[in-house]
Amino acid sequence: MSLNQAFLAIIRRDLILAFRRRSEIANPIFFFILVVTLFPLGVGAQPKLLQAMAPGVIWVSALLAAMLSLDSLFRSDFDDGSLEQMLLSSHPVAVLVLAKIFAHWLVTGLPLMMVAPLLGLFLGLPEQALATLVMTLLLGTPVLSLIGAIGVALTVGLRRGGMILSLLVLPLYIPVLIFASNAVDMAATGMPVSAQLNILASIFFLSLVLAPIPTASALKMSIN
């Protein structure tokens, strides 16, 4: 069948799988909400401080939640042999990998993006910053999935790859974290944020083009 059909079939398959394993998918989003709601309890009744910390808190929690969900990207396919079959397809593996990453983002990144404005309000983030928060998440969470995919592909063959995965992936997440939380910060004080958003967009497009290829090669390495 054509490449388009294969791309759509993989997205469809992963969405059905996600729907049938709801609890696994709900994990990262619960983690995200829990961490953000626990912060005010820990910090105490200091609205000014919370408001100042809100962009960082939301973004760090989103980043950790995204990392928590990474392992599910290829793990079950690796364990039951579906990954082997995917690599034996006559279609370019990088494109199939991109379909998997997109489906993964739909079930992990998108929910984060949808609850983030609520959590922003909860931490007292000014309303003018909410649109920027959503925008940074829209550009940033796909980058987390794309870069994370390389790390997962490299470590999926290892029995205990969790620690190595975070060491591999976290340094690459830092630019996203810096520019995204800075943009939300600036928006909260009413400053222009187009520079940060442009940089995030360029990081997004770069990783969209560059991440699937090493992911495909890393998967081939892990499978042997």
Binding site: S76, D80, S82, Q85, M86, L88
Partner: protein
């Protein structure tokens, strides 16, 4: 190209694993209408050889040729199908959903999904989740994948595992049909093949040092 019989050749293949030479300077050639049966004790490199043929492992020396050319991804992968130790089916998906995914990854073969399920005696299970199938049924499902996609070379790693006697007979008859239609099979099996009419080439890997 199509009227020509496809051939799979291996030239002086070696495989070294953890400083142990599993096999070295292994040469063979399989063409259409033929079955290559790999034999040998456990751990003698049968699965490793199959994985080299699939392209999952790089041989430590030697090359694998498909129709005279080095195995290049898409051209070779269009013509081959692999069923390994792992069934490669998703537990949470239904039987038909699993086969449709395989179909999307490959190209449409001689049989439709329904016909293939009929053939492996899984008709009526289309909407059953693979989770609730028995081990033998799962195996038959993964072998059904061979029928729905277009391919000439089947690489089978212990295809008879967890199949009952009738299941084995059924798979042997499917294999025979494939070979008679010009296809070829490279396989390992502990079970001796009861296919007197087929052209079976045997290689014992325990003796290939």
């Amino acid at each position: 190209m199509d009227n020509q019989l496809p051939t799979l050749q291996a030239a002086s293949l070696s495989c070294i694993r953890d400083d142990r030479v599993l096999f070295s300077s292994l040469d063979f050639s399989v063409h259409g209408h033929q079955i290559l049966l790999l034999e040998g004790q456990n751990g003698c490199g049968k699965t490793s050889l199959l994985r080299i043929l699939c392209g999952f492992r790089e041989p430590d020396a030697g090359v694998v040729l498909w129709c005279g050319n080095p195995c290049h991804r898409s051209a070779f992968y269009q013509d081959m199908a692999y069923v390994g130790h792992m069934d490669g089916v998703k537990k949470e998906l239904s039987v038909a959903e699993n086969l449709n995914i395989s179909l999307a990854l490959g190209s449409q073969g001689a049989m439709t999904v329904d016909q293939a399920l009929e053939k492996v005696r899984l008709a009526g299970y289309e909407d059953t989740l693979v989770h609730s199938l028995s081990a033998g049924q799962k195996r038959r499902l993964s072998l059904a994948r061979l029928l729905i996609t277009k391919n000439k070379l089947w690489i089978l790693d212990e295809p008879f595992t967890s199949l009952d006697k009738q299941g084995i007979k059924l798979i042997e008859s499917i294999m025979l049909e494939h070979v008679q239609a010009g296809g070829m099979i490279v396989m390992t099996s502990h079970h001796d093949l009861a296919m007197p009419s087929a052209d079976i080439q045997r290689i014992n890997l325990s003796q290939c040092h």
